[in-house]
Subunit: 192 residues, 2 copies
DNA sequence: TCGAATGTCTAGCAGTGCTAGGATTCGGCC
DNA sequence: GGCCGAATCCTAGCACTGCTAGACATTCGA
């Protein structure tokens, strides 16, 4: 059985290589540059190998998205736990979120802009996505205010962050106001 | 000269036909279905004709975006002018914005999601885009609050609306909370 | 040692955005 | 009216895309 196990390990390793390569390529040159041919060449296998791991390009995007969700959740938790009072936590959350989006634009796109074939806001939503939302809710639930559903508040706050992240990255907002926008958002939305 | 004029008219008419057809196709079957071949077939000309009007597919998207911006600005102004007090105006604006995004998803994508080769938030930004932002600012500037720059506030409010529009349309937010999200956003962000 | 199963690759399909170059039609001039 | 140059348009094709059928090699169990 040890041969089979080794093969499974190698297969899993190759799958990680595919996801990592796709992510790297997308981050360096954009998702348009992530073609099945280029990806196959980089991992030094032929195209059909990709399809023995994933149903298609969409699923590869989905895999990158899940990886990104896990990292994002971790970074957000790390940032909020380091802060003292609720206000500092919310500010830290907002900064960590926008930071992640700015530093990993391709991963962010895989998560929230592109179609990775993943289910969101449902029962069968993959665990990493649920957990990322939970990471937001843990901190934002604290400042939802009386009588306001924590989930509802988190959705609204998250939407605002998402809007800031996407519009600013595509040059649709004034760059010099970035910091002021975050402060204004936190001041107004959070009940402290 | 009248022959030349007629030709120019016909050319302009054909250009309108291209934009209208692209928009219709995108709205019915998504932007992926808007291929140069299909578009050429629909307008009953060959592909190269498209390139005598536009540099490429990107510019066609841009043309649809500009058309959409004009309509959006008009709808927002119509909605806000019909409302009485500032609070009603802001709510009407939010509803009108999200309504437009929901009713014209392809146009909304052309405007804020896809690359139409347009400049945003700059001096050389096309007039329709500037005017759409102005339409938002006219109403939102009223409720920015003391000491808060109206442009800054408009950017933040707009980003929130954009986040709601995109995340809800791609199924990333709970559909049943749509109304509550708008109310919460207006309540918190606007200074009344 | 041989047949079967597994793994991988070559080659190809239908589709994409875009364009070079040839055919055709048209307007103005003699 | 007949001709020529220019404007207009189309055919055909390029290099690319995601994806897959079928051939080929390799490895495994009997």
């Amino acid at each position: 059985m040890s041969v089979t196990e080794r093969k499974q390990r190698e297969r899993a390793e190759r799958e990680r290589l595919i996801v990592a390569t796709a992510r790297d390529l997308a981050e360096r040159r954009g998702w348009d540059a992530v073609t099945t041919r280029r990806l196959a060449e980089r991992i030094e296998y032929s195209q059909p190998v990709l399809y023995s791991h994933f149903r298609g390009k969409r699923e590869i995007i989905g895999a990158v998205a899940l990886q990104g969700a896990t990292e994002m959740a971790a970074e957000i938790r790390a940032a909020t736990e380091a802060a003292g009072d609720p206000r500092a936590r919310v500010t830290a959350l907002a900064r960590a979120y926008l930071d992640f989006a700015a530093r990993n634009p391709a991963v962010y796109d895989a998560l929230f802009q592109l179609d990775g074939g993943l289910a969101y806001a449902r029962e069968d939503t993959p665990a990493p996505l649920k957990d990322a939302f939970a990471a937001l809710l843990e901190t934002l639930g604290e400042v939802a205010g009386d009588g306001v559903d924590k989930g509802l508040f988190t959705e609204v706050f998250w939407s605002s962050l998402h809007g800031l992240a996407t519009l600013s990255r595509t040059g649709r907002l004034l760059p010099e106001l970035a910091k002021a926008r975050v402060e204004l958002l936190v001041d107004r939305l959070a009940v402290l």
